[in-house]
């Protein structure tokens, strides 16, 4: 099954539950009507939170940059000796 169909089915299920809540009026009508709005807000918050957490813990590697510089020097030296035109 195509992936988006799965999400579509999930959405339908949520919609059904919502209608059910509206009909059964276990919660006050006013609340139930606003539920989809809450859902969108929660989804948005989740997204922003995930991006924020990802940014806070963004893995960095300054040490690797230094190692790379050394590798570059080593490579240049070798290649120059072998007559490859690496400039400088």
């Amino acid at each position: 099954m195509k992936h988006f169909l799965k999400l579509f089915v999930l959405l339908l299920a949520i919609f059904a539950v919502w209608i059910g809540l509206l009909e059964a009026s276990v919660v006050p009508q006013g609340y139930a009507l606003l539920l989809p709005v809450y859902m969108v807000v929660v989804l948005g918050c989740y997204g922003i939170l995930m991006v924020g957490v990802g940014l806070m813990f963004f893995p960095t590697c300054p040490h690797e940059a230094e190692l790379l510089q050394k590798d570059i020097v080593e490579a240049k030296e070798f290649l120059k000796k072998k007559g490859v035109d690496v400039g400088l």
């Binding site: 992936h3 988006f4 997204g47 960095t60 940059a65 570059i72 290649l79 690496v86």
Partner: protein, 238 residues
């Protein structure tokens, strides 16, 4: 260790005169115990990349370094296809020339593949022991945003979708690449999503990514728009 496998390393280049020399040296340094060939697909770089490649062929041998040039800049996706059509290995490794993909990780890709028998091993920057260096806040923000969107809507089961440092079984790469239509930035994402949907066994290894030191980026400005279009396209077609 099984040394019978042959690895074809495809490196697309456009104006990577210095980088291609450095990376070739580093590949030979780190892969000395494996059987491999390097296939350089150069799109008529005006900076003389091909002259350097010819010098490297003199040094390392024309059977180890294959220059497969094309007349003009025809794009990355087709460069991989073109390189693939000349590959003689059982496995194909794809990497950038700009030293963002360090050859010292190649053995870990190969070992991971041997241990798990995976069809694809992909490098990931977003796990422990992985990382990125040299990105500004904007670039990090875009990358995180793109990743959260893709993880939510595509659920590919891979933590780094847009990286292009990967090892494929040759037959798997041929199969997947033939069903990919996207170009540019989205290409890598479509490759891995389609592969995941086809049920191929995908493993990850941590890599670090140091932003390019020499040369300039070849990616255009409308990356974000292209990415979003690609995401929507993949959402409905996979």
């Amino acid at each position: 260790m099984n040394k019978k496998n042959k690895y074809s390393i495809i490196i697309p280049t456009y104006n990577e005169r210095l980088n291609i020399a450095l990376i070739t040296y580093l590949i030979f340094k780190h892969l000395s115990e494996f059987c491999f060939e390097i296939i350089i697909v150069d799109d008529g770089s005006p900076d003389g990349t091909q002259d350097i490649v010819k010098q490297l062929q003199q040094l390392y041998g024309e059977d180890r370094i294959l220059l497969r040039a094309r007349p003009r800049k025809l794009g990355l996706g087709t460069a991989y296809c073109y390189g693939l059509s000349h590959a003689s290995g059982d496995f194909v490794i794809i990497m950038d020339a700009d030293l963002s993909h360090h050859p010292k990780y190649l053995p870990s890709f190969i070992k991971k593949q041997m241990e798990t028998g995976a069809s694809i091993v992909t490098g990931t920057r977003y796990v422990k022991k992985g990382g990125v260096h040299g990105w500004n806040l904007m670039r990090k923000l875009t990358s995180r945003g793109a990743n959260v969107l893709a993880q939510t809507f595509l659920r590919p089961g891979v933590s780094d979708l847009t990286g292009s440092f990967r090892l494929y079984k040759k037959s798997v790469l041929e199969d997947v690449i033939s069903s990919v239509v996207s170009k540019g930035y989205v290409f890598q994402m479509e490759m891995i999503v389609r592969a995941a949907r086809k049920g191929y066994h995908i493993e990850e290894v941590p890599i670090t990514f140091v932003d390019r030191v020499f040369g300039s980026s070849k990616l255009g400005g409308s990356e974000i728009v292209e990415y979003l279009k690609g995401l929507i396209y993949l959402f409905f077609t996979t």
